[in-house]
């Protein structure tokens, strides 16, 4: 263990090593065999009927020639080059990479929940519907927005669904000319993209000097064309929008609605409710706040919670409770319709239900409290060595920049890459866009003080290395993983996406 120090007396890691057993692995088609070895189809007896012969393959399938164990090893080996939340600390700001408790998986895999079909008769899946209904109720209470749809299959899908409801609401008011969505320049990129997909156009609001929404800028941009303000609170600089009530009031007075991006709900859960702040509509990233898996391509979920103003426009079908029975209800004149072929990604919500139930009404606030405390702990330990663009306490993530390290020719990307050598996933870099050389660090509530300390030690060591003029190691990093610094520029300019046959 060259650089890692395990002190057996105080049982603390300085930082973890990355030099385990790893295998080099070629691409699937670079494996040597010609013919598929794992596929042995029986021959055909007699002639293939003409009716079927038209479907026979005219050109070879070009399946790579791997045996089953080779195939399994291929993917397992690639997975070992990866860094996940179960490998190590993963402080990717704005993404809330919190640990996914095992009990969630146990619940989601119960046969009565895992082996059911969306089209099964309702009376055979009452238990599953009850659990989904519970999630709806929870999310309504946590957000302060009592009407919830579980349909959207991702956060951005939720954004689209929410904006479609806002658009339908404005149309119902006879205000179809309201098609402008105001988006702060610190917003997640999905916000303007969702607005555009919904047939709206966006106007960017320049943030104030403190990284928050500037009330004068907001006022100057509100008019008869305003459909909505789309905002995140706390914002992407990790700062709470302290003027939130006035912001919502201004938008409402101008005839618009307020869309909340729930990406940063982890800072508020159990403590403050977007609905109480004046927000009309909020999507919730259950993979962030409620510890469901971040994907691997899905399935995902981005439920949307709305207030009474928007309730009539929710997608159908909705899960409703009648005495002790649960059923799907599709009767609604004003609904925007279905935005998924089922009522939502059931397995994801079973995990979210398990997570929320584990905390319960009494303890849910501890999620936010510990997340905010952990972020401020890191901020406190690093603030003398790294530049802090916005003064004051942060919420669930802290924002630093590379301004001090710039003097030595070291940039945010170098710091991020060096963290890989020291056993950590890098923080979010160059976001939010309003801060030059941004480093956004979100530890989440699930990390121990020892983990936070080892990360801070690594960050301090990188800064010290920089001050000592030992910058080559930073520019070359990472040197330990199989794949060292990748050429991100060429990967974007000249991507090779298809195996050349």
């Amino acid at each position: 263990m060259s650089e890692s120090v395990l002190n057996s007396n105080d049982r603390t890691f300085k930082y973890s090593a990355t030099n385990g057993i790893q295998h080099e692995e070629p691409l699937l088609f670079e494996h040597a065999h010609e013919a598929p070895e794992s596929i042995h189809l029986p021959g055909v007896e007699g002639d293939i009927p003409d009716a079927l012969a038209v479907f026979s393959r005219k050109i070879p399938a070009n399946i790579p020639g791997l045996s089953e164990p080779e195939t399994v090893r291929h993917f397992v080996r690639l997975s070992q080059w990866n860094h996940g939340i179960e490998t190590g600390f993963y402080p990717l700001g704005s993404c809330t990479m919190k640990y996914n408790p095992r009990v969630n998986e146990t619940v989601a895999r119960l046969p009565g929940l895992a082996h059911i079909h969306p089209d099964q008769p309702e009376d055979t899946v009452q238990g599953a519907l009850e659990l989904l209904y519970e999630v709806q109720e929870w999310l309504g209470e946590i957000s302060g927005l009592p009407h919830v749809t579980l349909q959207p299959a991702a956060g951005a899908h939720g954004e689209l669904a929410g904006l479609m409801m806002i658009r339908a609401c404005l149309d119902a008011r006879g205000e179809a000319e309201r098609r402008t969505v105001l988006v702060p320049d610190s917003a997640h990129g999905t916000n303007p993209a969702s607005a555009a997909l919904c047939g709206m156009h966006t106007v960017e609001l320049k943030s104030g000097a403190d990284g928050r929404i500037d009330l004068d800028v907001l006022k100057a941009n509100l008019n008869d064309g305003t459909a909505a303000l789309m905002m995140t609170n706390p914002n992407t600089a990790g700062a709470f929008e302290t003027d939130i009530k006035e912001i919502c009031q201004l938008v409402h007075d101008a005839g618009g609605l307020v869309y909340g991006d729930g990406a940063n709900l982890n800072a508020l859960v159990g403590l403050a409710r977007p609905g109480d702040m004046g927000i009309d509509c909020l999507h919730i990233n259950v993979h962030k706040t409620f510890a469901t898996p971040h994907g691997g391509g899905g399935p995902g979920a981005g439920p949307v919670a709305v207030n009474d103003t928007l309730a009539a426009f929710l997608p159908v079908p909705r899960i409703v409770k009648e005495s002790d029975n649960y059923r799907l209800d599709s009767t609604s004149d004003a609904s925007i319709g279905s935005i998924l072929s089922t009522i939502g990604q059931s397995g994801v919500y079973m995990r979210a239900n398990a997570y929320i139930s584990a905390f319960g009404r009494q303890s849910l606030h501890k999620i936010a409290e510990d997340a905010v405390l952990n972020a401020n702990y890191i901020l406190h330990r690093l603030k003398d060595v790294y530049h802090v663009p916005f003064e004051g306490v942060c919420k669930h993530e802290c924002l630093l920049t590379d301004e001090i390290q710039n003097k030595h020719g070291v940039k945010t990307l170098d710091i991020a890459k060096r963290l890989i050598d020291l056993g950590f996933h890098p923080m979010t870099v160059y976001f939010p866009l309003i801060v030059h050389g941004a480093m956004l660090i979100e530890p989440t509530e699930t990390e121990s003080r020892e983990t936070l300390d080892s990360f801070c030690d690594a960050m301090l060591e990188i800064a010290a290395q920089c001050e000592a003029g030992n910058t080559d190691a930073l520019h070359e990093a990472p040197v330990k993983p199989f794949r060292r610094r990748l050429d991100e520029t060429q990967a974007a300019r000249k991507p090779v996406l298809v195996w050349p046959q």
């Binding site: 160059y430 520029t489 974007a492 300019r493």
Partner: protein, 125 residues
């Protein structure tokens, strides 16, 4: 970094060169430096009518995707098609071969424009 004296500059770090009724647009050396390696430039359609301050192109770098705003009002008459295959020209020659579009100016409307000296002072602030 030299800031050419024959160009005008905006607070959003675009440059404009005016020859008669034709204006040539690009982003400044400071802008390309801040964005990092440019990997894609989305060019406007020919004949598109632009208002002063309207987003007319998109510059994508390894770090970010940014709108580029038109310093003057006019109709697009030519775009730098070389950027489709060589977006890196914006990095290597921001004030020359990295130009983005040419516009036939219509009317007097412009965003706030600065001289090279004023832009230099703006950068230092």
């Amino acid at each position: 970094m030299t800031i050419p004296a024959n160009l005008k500059y905006t607070k959003d770090h675009e440059w404009v060169r005016i020859d008669g009724d034709i204006a040539t647009f690009g982003i400044t050396d400071h802008a390309q430096e801040a964005l990092g390696d440019i990997v894609f430039v989305e060019l406007p359609d020919i004949d598109r009518e632009l208002e002063a301050g309207e987003a007319y192109a998109v510059v994508e770098s390894v770090k970010a995707v940014s709108d580029v705003y038109s310093p003057v009002a006019g109709a697009v008459v030519e775009v730098n098609e070389e950027l489709e295959g060589e977006p890196e020209k914006v990095n290597t020659d921001a004030f020359g071969g990295g130009w983005i579009a040419k516009v036939k100016i219509s009317g007097d409307a412009t965003v706030e424009l600065m001289t090279d000296d004023e832009y230099n002072t703006f950068l230092e602030e």
